[in-house]
Assembly symmetry: C2
Homo-oligomer: 385 residues x 2
Amino acid sequence: MDHKLMLTIPGPTPVPEPVLLAQAKHPMGHRSGEFCAIVAEINENLQWLHQTKNQVITLAASGTGAMEAGIINFLSPGDRVLVGSNGKFGERWGLVAKAFGLNVELVEAPWGQPLDPEAFGKRLRADTDKTIKAVIITHSETSTGVLNDLEGINRHVKAHGEALIIVDAVTSLGATSVPVDEWGLDVVGSGSQKGYMMPPGLAFVSVSEKAWQAYATATLPKFYLDLGKYRKALKEDSTPFTPPVNLYFALQASLQLMKKEGLDQIFARHDRLKRMTRSAMKALNLPLYAADDCASPAITAVMPQGVEAEKVRSVLKKRFDIAVAGGQDDLKGKIFRIGHLGFVSDRDALTAIAALEATLIELGAEGITPGAGVAAAAKEILAAS
Amino acid sequence: MDHKLMLTIPGPTPVPEPVLLAQAKHPMGHRSGEFCAIVAEINENLQWLHQTKNQVITLAASGTGAMEAGIINFLSPGDRVLVGSNGKFGERWGLVAKAFGLNVELVEAPWGQPLDPEAFGKRLRADTDKTIKAVIITHSETSTGVLNDLEGINRHVKAHGEALIIVDAVTSLGATSVPVDEWGLDVVGSGSQKGYMMPPGLAFVSVSEKAWQAYATATLPKFYLDLGKYRKALKEDSTPFTPPVNLYFALQASLQLMKKEGLDQIFARHDRLKRMTRSAMKALNLPLYAADDCASPAITAVMPQGVEAEKVRSVLKKRFDIAVAGGQDDLKGKIFRIGHLGFVSDRDALTAIAALEATLIELGAEGITPGAGVAAAAKEILAAS
């Protein structure tokens, strides 16, 4: 049966009908008053979502483009930066920083485990000359389903006083609270195909006053991703380069839906989806790759024993049209990743768990009590209400 | 009356219904076999459109992002480049090259006039040490409606033998023939919201084997726009970063429509639209900003006398829901620009001309013969058939 795909990957995520249809409108001129009004509304709602008074800049790019912009706009060649690395995306921001000639020190943890805030604290306290210019952290590590302790790490950055905190919030923003102003987060990057309930194609960078001060003296070369050009255009509710106007229509619609649901409700829903998924996996004797106290609200990675991860994915896809993600790099073939991010309801989580149970039975997995996963998930719904 | 907007600007351009609706489909996973099949089809059709066997890389970016990628991937700091500048976009590529520390020599012509091929020939012939690494040219200068003599300039570049030719074909590709292989164009950048009959959000860079050889030793820093990463992913019909999957759906649909129409038909249609528009303006005594022998097939700039350009735009918009573009920078308020690019038919051109006539009458413009513009355009249709 065609057109029955259920997206249960960490992005692209499902998209509500009003958002899909908003994209299908005829384009308009990006220098028109009508479009400026849309930009103005979007900017206000992006600030609401980021819980900030900072400017939030919209780029035509992927999340990687947003993070590159978040790094290169505020630093100069040779600048010393600490990069947290405990998964594919942390690793990537280290590669971006190296590609631009920064002096990169990785602060590592094994994949599947969280970064240790004290490992940052130690280096930041030792840096009495204030040579560390930025600390780059992945909040929710999509490759492993680990939520790093951004608040804890940031406390050490704030105690240092000079370094900027640059955050990859690609799969945390819109899934869990990222209170930009309360925590004093300088640069926060995100992408539209995640908590925003939108297709991919737009990326976002929130920039603090302190980061703009660093921008003034930063010398890494840039043009398309030069955020100063976007800041200047934003003052006139505009963009420096032709924006993807149809994706802006979609963004306008999705932010309206998010505001209607409300931040607290959105975060509670993601927390519930996480608990439902994790409790179900435990009830099905499927080992979770990340521990409970560092579990991402957006994605749950499962490392099955006695049944092959790729076979689970294959049956889910062929028999139930459910796409779950596989592992990346060294984790390829070892884990599968269930996305519960964005436009995902309790019903969707129950559906995925029920289909997973049927898949495990088909694959002859041992130690499975049919129905146990769905029952455990249902209990979490009750506990949360 | 709402929802009646007619886009007659040089981009975004009108979009056919099947392309609009393709965007409204549910997203799919970008690492799925289904999506790889779409990427493979798109790549084949992009090569058809570019008349090349070269790889054509798709980016989530604006046309400026494509041109930045086309410059920074093949050059190193201090490299000497010639940049043709006779309008806002030529000027912009000079700024991009300077931002990345290239040694930029502008080869200028006044706005509204074409670049002189011999001005390039002289410098290229004098460069016996082969220090010129690239010549950067805007083919159709959107700000003025001038089509530069790319073939003539490129002949000098080929005689030089070392320098790459890097072309902004943003408003020429899909409007007039840009035979990449026949002319030996090394790098060609374009954007989706132009001849592609799509909304903005995708950008394209065609790369020759000679350019890939330059890539191997080029040292300007890059990551998101590092075309080598895209080339590697293309081998598996994939992308290095999350692509805007819904815009890919649209691109798949628009390229299918373009193939159905055929390259010769597409180019003949744009030539006819250009002739219709220019003959109408002449019949209405409206001075054309660019001369006939260097007129862009995508856009016609008009410098009205005795009636204010901005008033013409304002009445066209308010009374007829027709958006035409104004002038940029020094040309602000002095010209208006009629786009006839992409999904535009003879009927659309007649409509715009008829509405312009009514607008001129309303504004009390002198020397206007009512009906003369439409009659002249109709004659061009007949002459072309």
